[in-house]
């Protein structure tokens, strides 16, 4: 009997919610109206944490980088201006939780300890630390005993040594050995080809305020259309060059 009473409450609730959903011009909505505010004020507030070549932000120049380029395009598509704000990723993500910013970019990757506190887009691009060779289609099988050149300061040395590789550090790895290790887009820029030896995977994301699902979906749709792999690699190489 109790169950029937609840059924009488449940059905109308369901109908009301479905009607509300149909009435929304956008579904899902932003509980804190982020996207609407952006469109009304003609400004999108974007936080940038320096992380070349994804985000290059300094006091001396205009922001640039692959992610900056993508977000600029997004703002153009929305028809709004941008207010860039620099800072550390921690500080910027903190500001997101207070709904003081609309998007944060900075070479952020998933999984991320902040995922309980802010919203993250689906990964729009996946990159790897790879071992590359000048020949396409190299299935090395293992790195045991092979010489691999790396640029200094990449933090790849432990991973490579664990796989039995002999390391050679050089500013221009492509010139000193038959195999080099670096980011997947870097090696493509050198004209080399990634081998089957992938050392680490990175899934790149942007951050949005928690629960702002309308804004999130809009950004994700944009990224799906305009941030295909080839385009992102191009943007990264452009940013690297400058």
């Amino acid at each position: 009997m109790m169950a029937h009473r609840r059924m009488r409450v449940a059905w109308p609730l369901l109908v009301i919610l479905l009607l509300l959903a149909a009435a929304c011009e956008r579904f899902p909505q932003d509980p804190e109206r982020s996207l609407d505010t952006v469109l009304e004020t003609d400004t999108i507030r974007i936080g940038l944490a320096n992380s070349p070549p994804w985000v290059i932000h300094s006091d001396e120049e205009d922001p640039r980088g692959a992610e900056v380029a993508l977000l600029s395009e997004f703002a153009t598509e929305l028809g709004v201006g941008i207010r860039w704000e620099g800072g550390s990723s921690e500080g910027l993500l903190e500001a997101l939780t207070r709904y003081e910013l609309d998007i944060v970019a900075g070479g952020l990757t998933d999984p991320n300890p902040w995922s309980a506190h802010v919203g993250f887009t689906l990964p729009y691009h996946t990159s790897w630390f790879v071992v590359a060779s000048p020949e396409p289609g190299s299935g090395l099988g293992s790195l045991e005993g092979r010489t691999v050149a790396v640029r200094p300061g990449t933090g790849l040395t432990r991973a490579l040594e664990r796989r039995g590789a002999r390391l050679l550090t050089a500013e221009n790895p492509a010139e000193v050995a038959d195999l080099m290790a670096g980011n997947s887009w870097e090696v493509v820029g050198q004209g080399w080809y990634p081998t089957d030896q992938r050392l680490q995977e990175f899934r790149h994301v942007f951050a949005v305020p928690p629960g702002e699902n309308g804004l999130l979906m809009r950004l994700e749709s944009f990224l799906r259309e305009h941030a295909d792999s080839g385009r992102v690699v191009d943007l990264l190489l452009q940013a690297d060059d400058q």
Binding site: L13, F27, P28, D30, G119, E212, R224
Partner: protein, 315 residues
Amino acid sequence: MRTREPFELPEDKQEKLRRAVRLEWITIGFLISITVVMFLTMGASQAMKTAWIEDVLSLIPPIAFLIAMRLRDREPDERYPYGHRRVTLLSFLAASVAVLVLGLYMLWDAGISLGSRHHPTLGHMDVFGYQIWSGWVMIAALTYSMIPPFILGRMKLPIAEEVHEQTLHADADMNKADWMTAGSAILGILGVGVGFWWADSAAAAFIALEVTRDGVTNARSAMRNLMDHRPTEIGSDKPLGIVEKVRGYARELPDVRDAECRFRVEGHVFSGELFVVLTDQPEVARRVEEIRKEALAIDWRIHDIVVMPVESLER
């Protein structure tokens, strides 16, 4: 030691029980599939997480039932002279307490979520190459989770009443009420979509309340049974009238001056004592055995009656 005679279920009841066992296996199969589907689609929804835990918990009653079905037909032996009819109740009580505690934990969790104003983030989900709002995927999973338990619950309920099986009844009841859990979660997710960030946590709290209530109800009924409660109808508190029937039968007998009895529930069967004041007669023992046999036949659920000739029924 004189152990009890083993209990024999009437043939038609045995058939029903076998059907119940089959249904419980099917229930377990569906519940596992539901658990997997929900786990894959749960995402950031608190309500879905709570509903998932509830679905995992609903695996306990059927498993306990199937195990008990194997154990309780063991004949009474030296160590268990009264038989094993109560084994179902033990697992049932343990399961109910576990459910209760988990329900309380989930309630607390949902409370924290609401208190900290947690806004669930639900973006796109990648489904076989297509990107759709994760809320729709969750709602689809929840809709699936509603249907098999509801149907199975409705099929098991009448059987539980016919074989007087309380644990089966509680399990079937929980299955039937599953639509409320899934329904609440769906309302929660739709609420978030419409912009009510609190809808998800509120739904989670509601589900947790239901789960706790279930735990309390089942724990109480298991406790009553384990404490030798008088026989009641399945799923309610109404006494069955077994005492009246047996007493009535005995008092009708020509050579019985007065009679009184008491009964208790033991798992799914009853047992009790019948006190008779007999007229003076030479073969009391034989008469008492006759009375016992006839009293046992009054209701198929009566497992054992000890007939005790007494001088008077005054205390």
